[in-house]
Symmetry: D4
Subunit: 254 residues, 8 copies
């Protein structure tokens, strides 16, 4: 690729085919990627082991298939979020053993192995209605090679359900706390654990919930520390953020 | 008062001093209060035993003194909220033994006796910064004759502080749950107790707290049941609402 | 259940099968419910006589049936809110005499008897469009054993309609005031009665009503005292809150 | 003024000094005011008899004095709103008998006589804190020659205070209803009277009142008809709107 | 009706059948309408000549028919707003000559004659998309007996379209200015005319228009005076408000 | 600067002091600015002739002086916005002939000459209160070498004031339309002119103006085309945007 | 048209058929357009070469056809935005060679030639989902005769994609930067180029994006200068604004 | 402490001093802390090595001194945020060598040693005005023992300033990205790095910035992945969140 161009340019200068001024001018006008910037970018993808991600919403099944085709290489992981059964039907024509999760609305191709089973991501939800968001977070973190444990329906209205699982929470390296309604779950968890808590507000609720704005604001204002928030219903964002932390822990071990 | 007018009118008709049409016309044109409406209103005040309340904010010390003077009768209770030291200095000139609470910013004249000590109002706050609101609620409910217990700084970030007091909460007839930040306290309390919970959001917080809007919305969206909400920082409203419930319990006993 | 575990543990210690340290360790690591916390929770349900509640929205008819099946015990009351005819058709297969209210969108199984007919809950609405919310409040409070009287279409634009019913309002122990549009009803009622008023804003209105935000804000800012507010369209919340107050009055009598 | 120009142009054309094309071009390029548009504008001011108005806020005392000087003609009325004592001190140097209202923060020069005392504007306020806005409305409507009656502190929390004055309300040609808090007053008045009601929300309130946004929204959503709303705290706007209606009634008589 | 009750009571007292105390008690407990309050209310309807209004939205065709049936008396005017063709089909079965306006979505029964053709209501709209709101305002004011002139599509983006009609605007007694988008029309009209201007914001627009919130706020903040605002898309409110002003002008003539 | 590094590197390769791989590696790891990126950036500043800008708000007088010192080169233009008299006193110690504008709160050092007087920027404001924003826009555009004409107080409430200046507007190459209140000015101007209109909302207004949010929304929703909006009170932004357009016109001529 | 009227009037005066006073009166009462105002307006359209624009949304296919018919003259350009296939089917019956763009939802009749190919408008979008808005901007600017280059999917999450095209950006005379999500694209572009940047926020996003409100606010608050913003999803507005700038550059050359 | 109670209870049972039922009852009624819950809580603090934190805002200097006194043990770290010089003057009386940071408004007592210098936290800010928030984040993370590198004023308006530091960013384990205005910095950084990015919006900005709401929303909607957000101006929150991640990396190594 771009290396040839550079080699050619350097050799031309060496052979006095071009002057020093010519060489300088050409070097300056080369786009960044010519100098490896994009390569670094590619390296990042290879090095970190993050799978490719396709955001399915608003894309036709044909578009998704074309993107998958261009992306697929030997055994690399691909995650498609916010997709539907019709996308799955199309994708499995070219990747028969891809996995469709109809609650999370995701397709996963070549899910990664869990490398370090002792690094644990716990996903806790306030209610059963938060399940689709929790599943999206689960599939994402799992596709990225994380060891994920789910703790569904442990909302604060029945605080003992959460406290009964305190050992599990104490053991986590990252907690993804997902809740709608008043969004109090991350605060209570944040008061119990010492690991980072990623809060995901959901649009579950009615009346003055305003499609998740209420739990979003509540989570940002948490009286507990060690909590950071992603967008409403953004299970993928929560799962991805957790994965970046897990990667740092893995990296730290090496 | 107005009864004389009515008696006079009825007797005039009986003595044929006025015709039936005259009597009808006069009855119809009498203002409502002439027919006991205001009396009922007064009765309500006497019967329910609610003290008179003066909202001090925006009133000069002279204005407050004039209102107190016109209100004061033998041993009746008067509560002045949102007032300052300067109001107190003026009021104590005419009611020397009135009580000023500088945290709650209230003056109480002739506080009521607690009639039923077994009817308990518990005031719980998320943090120490919620204290001014809690004190306003305390003074109000106490001035109305309620037996009030305070539970300060039991916010959800350290859930054990709250759980340590669960007996006290189980024993309450009404709980006033006061919190700023993310406003999760009423939800957790509402999940534990079976008595009515009055939630008071406070403007304690910063950033995206929006002067108490965040805990207000959170409390309205509580996933626990048996919770109703008053205005931001409205300690008086919380204390008054609790008092109306206590009065119903007392009334129910008679 | 858990008691056996505890008895076994205590007896093991007594018989010197385990040391004092072992006993301590095991006691500490027992989940809370093992120590009666959940039992207390169950006690609460039994003691207070609150029925079980299922929030129907977003649940399939199969899910609702499974939950009902697992909940149903001899003669206990179950309330299902925000459900549809299709849920009813499924539920009545297993509980033939359950009652479906198509305006309130509720199913009630084994409605409670009214114990104290002299404790009165009055539900007042601003208009006829508030009826679905009023019915949800009615069914809820009624299912919980309250004596409920409805007062429909007494909004403030024709103040005499409300004033004509003042005796009924004076007689109430709790008033649930339901209104959309500008939400002024609770203020006017709050100025007349001395009992607690639970305000329920509805999403009835258009233009700058913002799906009930306007009456919600208006109710929170009421110039009358003794008013607390639940979420928009939350008839269940209003009915439940009223029930907790009625339970306290009943409890106070014993 | 501009007429001469036109006459000159027409005569030039008549005398063949300019061609038809020249005449057309010149006519087209004359500014609008040359054609009497501004004159009509001045006529409007004279014909309608509206006083000149100066918005004092943000203007220095010198600026206000200069404007007054340039405006003052024989006996014309001038209204200065949102001004302070220091403006008054300066203005009275040049107009010694001007009237300063320290509650309304207004100065009036040459107040108009009330022409038709049987056309009545009633100003009703919810509380005493709404007084500054009410006074601004009063001074404005009065300065414009309206017959204005004030009805202070008749808010809906004590509905009988308002109903006691129903005769006065029935008699009004326009009502200006001023309220903060939940802003319910215009709705109740609108349900009683048949004349136009101008609603003025005030920033009186706290917590979720949002500087008058709550009563503003409530008034816009009134369930009563015949109500229109002006800006928050805009007493001048309410008084001016009432005056335009009174002028139409007066005009209709001629 | 209620008069008989009163006469009976007064006569009973006269004949000594009841004591003075009995008489007083009974008088006090009579509902307000017994004392003519509701009659005054009815008088108001008769006196002012306002037609009966039914808000059709959310009502079934059967409900509308029943209400019409109970309302209809000889030649009285009835206005049904926000209704559909199906309502019309049902209503015309009982009132064959009722008039359906499919743009305004209104039905009118027995439209009033225009009494004073020289009292003029002008309805101006910013664009053609504001037409449904304008028609609702037109039908309302017209049904109430007003003489109404429409001026469609005279928005400020082409200011000459408005200025071309300035004579018509100068001649108006009331202007209803209807606009979406940025809602500037009432400001420009308010700067030209001296009669009252009723501003009606519409939800016409997109992006940051927020369903009419933008023109609503703009109209409330108008730099011109003599403007008051009704709710978004509330053509009926605008037409009704205009009618109350016209009634006052008519009344003033008598 | 960086050129030497490059020359050295190229020559080292030519002399075989480093291998082709070494050369490639070094080229790739050079920071971007080494390759002229920053130089291009500097070129941009020189080429476009934009002055340096310092945002004064929140900076101490010492900080401003230090920045000016480091920036000042022979005859280059520097603009300091949102500064105070105390900044000026400090700056003039090092640049005695700098110009302070106390309405705009700006300091200008070495104002540019106007190159093309036939390219005209017209600044129009709704009222006199918008003057500080207008002056900031004026000083900015003027400092950048634009020919700027001011048109103050031509708001839409008196539309003739604007129309009287239509020739001036027709003649403009760019119009900066500045308004608070309802922000209608850009719409009316946009309907008259065919050149680009930059709309600047100001925080002038009260009540539901919300510190300029109302005119901001109104301007974004303008029914006229050819309008784009900058931030509230952002006179600098308006002036800068106008300057970029003027530069393009100038550039187009060359 | 109106010229005849004027000529007739002037000649009547010349022939003494009317007096000077009659002539003056008639001239003053002529509507503005009679005096060339509308002609100026028409001139503007002819001079600037802006095509006629029809906003299709909410218009039936018949309505659009009628408007096109009345507008179409020899070879003039017409742009129809926010239309559907059904509009196209109808329009092509009368203008067979009109061009329909199904992504932009536009129809163009008689697209203009590009006059100055060296004046370049660059349209950059953050993602592929912004394409419909970008196409609307493209079609608009292109229909107005601009030379437009598209740069799709160069969002800030992969900054090198944008930097790779910096030459193209440096070369632009106007940039239209279109982005949803967090709307950061215009800031980054504004930091690179020196030409005017028109920012178009799109409603692409979810959760707390609020239908484009987030990128709208972000763009208004850009830390880069030389950026002005149009309404959400307003591709037409962006394209039109760019065209007005291009016209000024073209005009400047003459 | 509580262990004795338990031992006593168990032994009492062993010695048959109490029955099995008594033992069960007592065990059930023991507060949670009796079972080590609070101890675990204390353990957490010791184990994780998090310093004690005092939120200084709203606390008097006396209150802060009392809290410090009760907290201080041998060599433990204490962090006081949002405090003033007067707090520092008081605190240093009892802890002479505490460190006050007047930009961050923090006091640190016994700052921790950096254990792992190869785990790097990078703090990047958009502008110099974000410095107070950045310093608070710095002091927090540093007090918790993290190795922190600052990168000030690398905002997106001059993208090369950021790109020049890409090596430093590639090397980070956590990035704290702090920005006001449009809040685009985290998006650009998130597109470059693969480690977790904690976004901190600041209230730096004006106009439609709304005290940091704009960058808050922008950051939540970032098109880049691996970003989570804390509250506006919450430097402490950002620093704390980073520390929890660093602790997990450190823990993972053991």
């Amino acid at each position: 690729m771009e290396e040839e161009k550079l080699i050619k340019l350097l050799n031309s200068f060496k052979k006095d085919e071009i002057t020093i001024d010519n060489a300088l001018d050409k070097l300056k006008s080369l786009p960044f990627e010519d100098l490896g910037f994009v390569k670094i970018d590619n390296h990042r993808s290879l090095r970190t082991g993050f799978p490719e991600v396709i955001y399915g919403e608003g894309k036709t099944k044909e578009q998704v298939k074309i993107i998958v085709k261009s992306m697929i290489k030997e055994n690399n992981t691909i995650l498609i979020t916010r997709c539907k059964k019709e996308h799955y039907d199309e994708v499995k024509k070219i990747v028969p053993n891809c996995a469709y999760n109809k609650i999370a609305n995701t397709i996963v191709i070549n899910e990664k192995e869990i490398i370090n089973t002792d690094i644990k991501v716990v996903i806790a939800t306030g209610g059963t209605s938060d399940l689709p968001v929790a599943e999206e977070a689960y599939v994402t973190a799992r596709a990225f090679g994380c060891n994920v444990i789910k703790l569904i329906d442990v909302g604060v209205a029945g605080i003992h359900r959460l406290l009964d699982n305190k050992e599990l929470l104490f053991d986590a390296n990252v907690v993804i706390a997902i809740a709608g309604m008043e969004g109090a779950l991350p605060s209570v968890i944040g008061g119990i654990v010492s690991c980072p808590v990623i809060a995901v507000p959901t649009s579950v609720g009615y009346g003055a919930n305003f499609q998740g704005l209420t739990p979003l604001l509540a989570m940002l204002n948490s009286c507990a520390s060690g909590i950071a928030v992603v967008n409403i219903d953004n299970g993928f964002g929560g799962g991805f953020m957790a994965s970046t932390i897990v990667k740092q822990i893995e990296k730290g071990r090496k």
